[in-house]
Symmetry: C2
Subunit: 253 residues, 2 copies
Amino acid sequence: MKAPHQESVLSRAARILEAFSQDETALTVSEIARRTGLHVATASRLVGELVAHGFLSRDDDRRVRIGVRLWELVVRASPTLSLRDAAMPFMEGVHDVVGHHVQLAVLDGEEVLFLERLSAPHAVINYTRIAGRLPLHASSSGLVLLAHAPAALKERVLAGDLTAYTPATPATPAALRALLAEVRRQGHAYCPGYVHDDALGIAAPVRGADGTVTAALSVIVPNERCAQEIVPVVRTAARGVSRALGTPGTGTF
Amino acid sequence: MKAPHQESVLSRAARILEAFSQDETALTVSEIARRTGLHVATASRLVGELVAHGFLSRDDDRRVRIGVRLWELVVRASPTLSLRDAAMPFMEGVHDVVGHHVQLAVLDGEEVLFLERLSAPHAVINYTRIAGRLPLHASSSGLVLLAHAPAALKERVLAGDLTAYTPATPATPAALRALLAEVRRQGHAYCPGYVHDDALGIAAPVRGADGTVTAALSVIVPNERCAQEIVPVVRTAARGVSRALGTPGTGTF
């Protein structure tokens, strides 16, 4: 164990990278110091080192951003690039037909992590962002991923915080348990108004080469009754991605 | 200046991230040691630290990959996410009409860096990859970016290595200089067989809120005469992205 003042360079570098977000992609050194709890002098020196190695870059106005070089290194060898590449042609097809939002998500820890999103201008409200997260119990993608997750994770989520975002969110263990069983049985999740009253999510499982569920393909559309017609579109696309990934067999999901 | 054995942790971490590539997204510690020139013990210790902080992750089979946590931190605050978000609806439209490959690129150093690509199955050959690079003088995107680059960069590229990938590549300073002038005058680059005999690239400039060229939108299609018909499609989409980014004025590019 190290004392806080002996914290490793990599640990402090990770804290600096964590200080940036979708809404704040450029920060001054003093903002970085405030967010990370590092002394300004320490933050300044470390930012200088991170800039020198391309992890960060500095604007003309002295604000600091994630470096294009780091973006390149991380994205070109991304562990999810092949999944994304396999999914995009199918996602584009769904987006042509359905409009609004089409997304690809994976399970990470006890949350949904969104890898990709196609959005139309003036589409219905959607909290999903690329590289953003949502809770497993409330989103259609999360319910598909959780329905096929190991029992231990399911039990942890069932015993954890089940925030009700709307009156429709499955916010009790009993409601969530029943819904997960239904998602497995049906082969998709249909979620009217679970995250926001105006939006409806539909998600279907994507299986990898070993046959296990590795991702969820979903759409977010206005919360209207006729959305049931979209279910086969989402399911077909998810099967297409699974086939492109080499999923064995052609049985039902 | 530090002696090599005193190289900083961040410098060695950067070398480790650089060891991964699109073709090798998973490496063993000994492969990492070989590629970086680090001692196996040093590589092993540093990989352990990088795994602990989410920069890397370790598979069940002990191979190491870029960490999903690092991907998330870098992509969510990506300096190019707003450009990419503005471009995608237009790129999808072009992809619907043209098929093959549609791409978005920026200038980085003396190369083209590709931020995004939409590809159809069985599309024509294309060396572009997301987060991949191509030389400025040979690709349609590179020619657009170079045509609008500062004079100093133009002169460096003109004086540098102008590899001829095919007989059609502009591989002499005179040919390249004439082509850059034409690209500026026409407002787009039309590149039959410059990188590969079978492929033809068409690129147009994307301007940012300050009116300067910040990106190139391009298509790669089979190298056939009728490709001229695609030029207005690419130009219109690039203007649409520029408008979405808030480019002032509506004059010609």
